[in-house]
């Protein structure tokens, strides 16, 4: 079997990360629905965990990441502290953005995570620019710039990819293609042959991968990341995946055929696939269950810590706006 040749350590690490992402989001969902402690909308990535785990596995800690409104998994996989993330979702002091950003603006510059974004596709040009900055500074970091399939219909997709190509920038674009743009099937609103074809039309090498197969994602990401780091030019990874839940945590997704959605979610569950693969490679069920239980315990603790944290001090509403003309001095 191919699996037996793989590095079992990597396989377990990938599974562990996916379990942590899912557990984090389950706790976040509970915090929203059961505890009513999450204040704004959160977008969960159930079913898409392999993209986050596989791509981030290929990065160094000092590499940079820009992500989307559906960015919890990416952020956690880049190395952010789940308790600080959960505090952010609850709008608490000690959140990674001090409680001022929330889920859609989650960021942890300490691990190279330069921000989720509440504006679809906006991170594409910014990520290209971070790579432009790296080029000017002359170091060997790279940028991963993730967006959804819906983002390829906004102008920044064209402008950002063209920018990265003409300036030959070290950025890996990752299109996390879950086939849905909020409540609309992306294909219905997208002309042509899709994300990878558009990237190729701009002269950027693009590869498509089964985003439910974390090993395949990790392999391809490792190859593309190495290529981007070596050649200092952009590449494009198109990951086919499936959004198992609604667009937001409160979206029942009544607009889609639930039988199809459930079947796709079941077949494409990257965690179950990886567990099966590891079981086939001889890892005991108890060990796999322990990974899951460990992730759950970690994220329960993160939620407990977040729920116990205070809200930010009132002065925070006026801090970190600007130095010159700061509202801490004059705001009216």
């Amino acid at each position: 079997m191919r699996e037996t040749n793989r590095d079992i350590g990597r396989s377990l690490a990938l599974l562990t990360m996916m379990e942590r992402i899912r557990a984090f989001e389950r706790q976040a969902e509970l915090a929203a629905t059961r505890d009513r402690l999450v204040l704004g909308a959160i977008h969960l990535s159930y079913g898409q965990e392999a993209v986050a785990a596989g791509v981030m596995h290929a990065l160094r800690r000092d590499d940079l990441l820009l992500s989307t409104h559906r960015g919890h998994g990416h952020t956690l996989a880049k190395g952010a502290d789940p308790a600080a993330m959960m505090k952010e979702l609850l709008g608490r002091a000690g959140g990674c953005c001090g409680g001022k950003g929330g889920s859609m603006h989650i960021a942890d510059f300490g691990v190279g995570m330069l921000g989720a974004n509440g504006v679809v596709a906006a991170n594409i040009t910014i990520g290209a620019g971070a790579a432009h900055g790296i080029r000017l500074l002359g170091d060997d970091r790279i940028v991963v710039d993730i967006f959804g399939d819906g983002a390829i219909n906004r102008g920044p997709f064209l402008e950002g990819l063209n920018w990265a190509a003409v300036f030959s920038l070290p950025v890996l674009f990752v299109c996390e293609d879950n086939e849905w743009s909020a409540t609309t099937r992306t294909a219905r609103m997208t002309a042509g042959a899709g994300a990878a074809a558009r990237a190729r039309a701009i002269g950027i090498e693009a590869e498509t991968v089964d985003g439910a197969d974390v090993e395949a994602v990790a392999d391809l990401a490792a190859e593309l990341v190495a290529r981007v780091r070596r050649d200092r030019r952009p590449a494009f990874l198109h990951a086919r995946t499936w959004r198992a839940g609604g667009h937001t945590y409160f979206d029942p997704a009544a607009y889609r055929d639930s039988a199809e959605a459930e079947a796709r979610a079941r077949e494409g569950d990257p965690i179950e696939r990886q567990r099966a693969r590891l079981a086939a490679a001889g890892i005991a069920a108890a060990e796999l269950d322990a990974i899951r239980a460990g992730a759950m315990a970690e994220m329960e603790a993160a939620l407990a810590a977040a729920a116990a944290a205070p809200f930010p001090p009132a002065a925070a509403a006026f801090s970190d706006v600007q130095d010159i003309g700061s509202p801490a001095g004059e705001a009216y």
């Binding site: 603006h105 974004n117 040009t125 000017l136 970190d320 003309g325």
Partner: protein, 322 residues
């Protein structure tokens, strides 16, 4: 001290900043050949095409990419060519650049100068003439610079590049060729107005090109024995409210003049602030002079119809003193 144009003053300020700090770079369309108004002339030759970078006609990417590069520690000077085209990058400026530091809880900075040549100039018509400074003054996170003289275009460009905040830097296209003395050592701080001329009868507040008109109007008025205190705000956020309040406290009369559309222009903010805080000092209702709320036409006679002129400022002041 040296005599130079408004365009040259900013060019020298940028060149000096680039010599002093390798993190400073410029990016925009046609910068390699010196920029569309020649305001980057010679910089590509001195600093090379990486630091004085041409760009595709992708305003959103120019703004967004420069922001990304700022987040990793470079200090971009972003050229938008015409203020009107910056509207193609509104999300990048307003939703991203202005907000990132706050949203991310202080983890990032956007030390950027966003140059937007603005204003009516040689029949440029509706899409190449606007003065939108009030829009930016409305956005928390942005500093808004509106220099009116070569001296200020030098000092303010240096200060804008040195700032760790995003500075929307609005140069008036009609001033590129204006000449004046520039003292590189002259002090400057955002939020400190320039007192163009002193007087005790009326306070005239203006900025950008209209500040020069206001100074000219004060000359007309002085010949008639009327003393006008002309305040050039120079920046609209922060703005020197203290100077305006102090002056109106003496004169009791406030006239604000600007080229932008009068309705919801920044003049409204100045008048409101004075009315709220110094109502008792007012001897006459404050007045605003701005463009009518119509579009900027091409035909020169129509374009002229929209302009706020020195004579209009002098006439309004006289009426207020009558």
């Amino acid at each position: 001290m040296a005599r130079m144009t408004y365009a040259e003053a900013a060019r020298q300020a940028i060149a000096e900043a680039m010599r002093a700090d390798p993190r400073v770079w410029c990016v925009g369309e046609d910068l390699g050949r010196g920029g569309v108004f020649g305001q980057y002339r010679g910089l590509a030759e001195e600093f090379g095409p990486e630091r004085v970078s041409d760009a595709p006609i992708s305003e959103a990417a120019i703004m967004g990419a420069a922001f990304g590069a700022a987040m990793v520690g470079t200090r971009p000077v972003v050229e938008m060519r015409f203020a009107d085209f910056a509207l193609c990058a509104t999300d990048e400026l307003v939703n991203q650049i202005a907000k990132a530091r706050f949203m991310f809880g202080g983890q990032s900075r956007a030390p950027m100068v966003i140059r937007q040549p603005m204003g009516m100039w040689r029949s440029s018509a509706a899409q190449h003439s606007q003065s939108l400074e009030a829009w930016y003054a409305h956005i928390p996170g942005l500093v808004v610079a509106v220099p009116a003289t070569p001296q200020d275009n030098y000092s303010m460009m240096r200060a804008a590049i040195a700032a760790d905040d995003p500075v929307v830097y609005l140069e008036h296209k009609d001033l590129w060729a204006m000449e004046g003395e520039v003292d590189p050592a002259a002090p400057f701080a955002f939020g400190q107005a320039r007192h163009r001329c002193q007087g005790d009868d009326i306070t005239i507040v203006a900025w950008s090109k209209t500040a020069n008109h206001a100074e000219e109007a004060a000359g007309i008025l002085a010949a008639e024995g009327i003393g006008a205190h002309v305040i050039d705000l120079r920046s609209l956020w922060p703005w020197d409210r203290a100077a305006v309040l102090e002056s109106v406290g003496r004169t009791g009369r406030l006239l604000v003049a600007h080229e932008a559309v009068q309705v919801a222009g920044f003049g409204a903010e100045v008048v409101a602030a004075v009315t709220e805080r110094a109502f008792g000092a007012l001897k006459a209702p404050p007045r605003r002079l701005g463009a009518p709320r119509t579009l900027i036409p091409y035909a020169p006679n129509l374009e002229e119809r929209l302009r706020v002129t020195p004579r209009m400022i002098a006439d309004a002041a006289r009426e207020m003193l009558a």
